[in-house]
């Protein structure tokens, strides 16, 4: 998977459905990227959204909120922690699978 392919995938999601469903699917994608240990793609996703337009930039920032149960914005440090936890989950899954 290269950057262009990832961009095509995200662009397709952005074009699918109304803003609420786009927000839901992108939020879900973000959670999946964290769980799948795809940190680079996660950063690309936020960058990609910021490039689309201002409204999407807000959406990009809001994606991080999903990581916090209280709905408050999270810091990059907390995001990093979630990613590390995601990695731990991946290690368990890999061990489970293999």
């Amino acid at each position: 998977m290269n950057e262009a392919e990832f961009r095509a995938f995200v662009t397709r999601l952005v074009l699918c459905g109304d803003r609420t469903s786009v927000r839901n699917s992108l939020t879900e994608l973000m959670c999946l990227l964290i769980r799948e240990d795809a940190e680079d793609y996660l950063i690309d996703l936020v960058k990609e959204l910021i490039e689309v337009d201002h409204e999407m930039a807000e959406l990009g920032k809001n994606l991080k909120k999903r990581l916090d149960k209280n709905g408050e914005d999270v810091t990059m440090e907390e995001l990093g922690k979630a990613i590390r936890e995601g990695r731990e989950r991946i290690r368990r899954e890999a061990a489970f699978r293999c």
């Binding site: 095509a8 999601l13 699918c16 786009v22 990227l33 799948e36 489970f96 699978r97």
Partner: protein, 312 residues
């Protein structure tokens, strides 16, 4: 070849068991040594009875035997293994583990009581008795329920099993009442007379999204008979390249033994479905990849004739 060990030894019931000593190579990166403490997957087959007649099954023609494991013996075994701290997760399979839902409930209860609710448990079912899941008292603690589903078309799917299995409506209803719908995963064998092309795979993924199931495993069947030899399809041959509907997240390789690739699919309406492809090649490794406790109350170092008995 790197200096990463192929095997390490795990001592279980005083016996030294060679197990996998490395982690699969991820995304083309080198193999890495498996960190200590070593642990291994335990497979429990409550019964060898299945009732289905799938033409691709390794046990085809030999799934009619009734009988089940002795819960008291399993309890002793689990207590021993827990004391030795060698189990990292438990798969409950068969036969059809949901054929006796009371026994399955008892086993799951027993595992959590002995090993704690952190123990990862997955159940593999053909879906013929799926509604029984409602009777599993500790279902919220179960990690995954893998439902065999080999076609999106109800008639074609049922034809593989040769018995009535859960239809989409029933699965949809169940996924709507469980606390975590991510519990469910479809397991789909890739076959020329079924899901055997990229377009069929996309139809299956759309069906999966409509049914409310979040994940599908597309599995290349192992060659166990002439039917499979003629019909098997490799996931590598049908997983599309450069298709905006699909995004691959990672892949693993385990020498010549097996490989897998994970991805996510977006439907036209923007719903996401996770999927993976997996292929296990013939001629597995010499070391134990799993421990198998069967309905005959014997613990072995895997399946087949080569497996060693380590507890009975």
């Amino acid at each position: 070849m790197s200096d990463v060990p192929i095997t390490k030894n795990l001592t279980i019931f005083g016996k030294s068991i060679p197990v996998k000593g490395y982690l699969c190579a991820k995304n083309g990166c080198p193999y890495q040594e498996k960190p200590d403490p070593l642990k291994i997957q335990l497979v429990i087959c409550p019964t060898f009875y299945c009732g289905a007649h799938c033409p691709f099954c390794v046990a085809a023609g030999d799934t009619g035997k009734r009988g089940h494991l002795d819960p008291k013996k399993l309890e002793r075994l689990l207590s021993e293994l827990e004391q030795q701290q060698v189990i990292r997760g438990i798969s409950i399979t068969g036969g059809e583990p949901m054929a006796d839902i009371v026994l399955l409930d008892e086993i799951i209860e027993m595992i959590f009581d002995i090993c704690g609710v952190e123990m990862e448990i997955s159940i593999n079912t053909n879906g013929s008795a799926l509604s029984g899941l409602r009777k599993i008292s500790r279902l919220p603690f179960v990690d995954a329920v893998h439902i065999s589903r080999h076609h999106y078309d109800e008639v074609k799917n049922q034809a593989y099993f040769g018995i009535p299995v859960a239809r989409a409506e029933e699965i949809r209803e169940l996924s709507g009442i469980v606390k975590d719908p991510k519990l469910f995963c479809f397991n789909c064998l890739l076959l020329k007379d079924g899901i055997g092309s990229t377009e069929e795979m996309f139809r299956f993924l759309d069906f999966t999204a409509e049914t409310g199931i979040p994940k599908v495993g597309f599995v290349t069947p192992m060659v166990v008979n002439p039917y499979v030899e003629q019909n098997k399809v490799s996931y590598e041959d049908i997983f599309p390249r450069e298709d905006p509907r699909v995004f691959y997240t990672k892949e693993y390789c385990d020498y010549t033994y097996c490989r897998c690739r994970d991805g996510v699919y977006a439907t036209d309406s923007g719903k996401l479905v996770e999927f993976y492809g997996r292929e296990t090649m013939a001629g597995g490794p010499e070391y134990a990849r799993v421990l198998v406790y069967g309905a005959d109350d014997v613990l072995r170092t895997g399946y087949g004739e080569k497996a060693r008995v380590i507890y009975e």
